[in-house]
Symmetry: C2
Subunit: 200 residues, 2 copies
DNA sequence: CTTAAAACATACTAACTAGTATTTTTTATA
DNA sequence: TATAAAAAATACTAGTTAGTATGTTTTAAG
């Protein structure tokens, strides 16, 4: 009984440290050796729990990264309340809540997308799954907003959802180039202009 | 006299092949060995022309990538004509003009930003320079549009410029996840909705 | 034609890479 | 408490990495 728990703990430890190192230094340039050094375990433990680095990468995406996006950007969209206000708050508060570290290193999902999505279909699929769920949540909220006469019925929810996701992921990258938040402030202003124009 | 030309040709050859390989496989995972194999030259030639891989990376950014962004996204903004129409055409035509290969591999600049901007200040600066010139061109065009009563004077040109750049770079990444253009069509629709709302 | 420098080639280093083979330690259970 | 399986450690392989040291070839200029 205790063994299973300990084993699961080890696997999670490797997963957590991997996520951190991938976020900090990139996936391809983080070695299994480096990961295992931070866990104070050895390669034997790694290959006991994961059959390859690729398998680990996929699990980091479908577990750690998905959780993060859900918590920060998807779950809030299912709240009750004015759809437009929820959009505005979710996007801008998320940006404002990031630590200096997170601003400097961008979006873990976007980093993965740009580093390895064009390399291997398995990564592509795992990442697409998250984006699609994000998009679905946005479309749901926009449609609700339309029903409740808060959002212009003539606009395409799909198009707005894609545009919102694109701009958010884009700014997470652009922000890496700067050492202050002015570009984020510009983005938030641009976003709120955009959202205001979705009114009926 | 001839020597200088040949030497310059070699340096450009290395630069061009590097750009292609960085675009295809990423910067950190493209080795100097691989680059020199595609040029049919050897390591001796490489380190004669470039003092390090980092120096090469910086030159790829400030030369190859800058040229590409200028040609595709900046120069067109300085055309005469309706500012809003120029924006719409420049962004959507650029997206539509990409080859399958370019759609799959995203934006070279955005790839660099997400791969190495948080690693080394020199890369950050070289990339920022391009983004700033792009932003300046957009702001110039938006201001001209305001003067010519084509664009709403109350909006912030800076904010719109940042929002446009973010969404464009974002969609270039998101598109990597898909095998068809529907997400690009959604983006273009979302963009034109957005641009229409910039009218006075 | 000689000479020196520039352009490039060859052969190396030391560190790192993903993954494997084998052994030791720990744990559950009979 | 004996035993087998799970968990983890150790030691290895074969390949790759950026960069260097030392050659050889080519070219320009006297």
């Amino acid at each position: 009984m205790e063994q299973k728990q300990k084993s699961e703990f080890t696997k999670q430890l490797i997963l957590n440290e991997s996520f951190k190192l991938f976020y900090k230094n990139g996936f391809k340039t983080t070695s299994v050796d480096k990961i295992m050094k931070t866990t104070n375990l050895t390669k034997g433990a790694f290959y006991h729990h994961y059959k390859s680095k690729k398998e680990l990468g996929l699990e980091v995406i479908s577990s750690k990264i998905q959780q993060r996006v859900y918590q920060g950007m998807i779950t809030p969209l299912y709240q009750d309340g004015n759809a437009l206000a929820i959009l505005k708050v979710t996007f801008s508060e998320r940006l404002k809540s990031f630590s200096q570290y997170d601003k400097q290193h961008g979006c873990p999902m976007n980093n993965f997308i740009n580093e390895i999505a064009d390399e291997e279909e398995a990564y592509q699929l795992a990442l697409k799954r998250i984006v699609e769920e994000w998009k679905a949540a946005l479309v749901y909220l926009l449609e609700r907003g339309k029903k409740e006469h808060v959002i212009n019925k003539t606009i395409s929810s799909n198009a707005v959802a894609v545009y919102l996701i694109s701009s958010f992921e884009g700014i997470r990258g652009i922000r890496k180039l700067y050492n202050d938040d002015s570009v984020l402030d510009d983005y938030i202003l641009g976003l709120s202009l955009y959202l205001n124009q979705l009114k009926p």
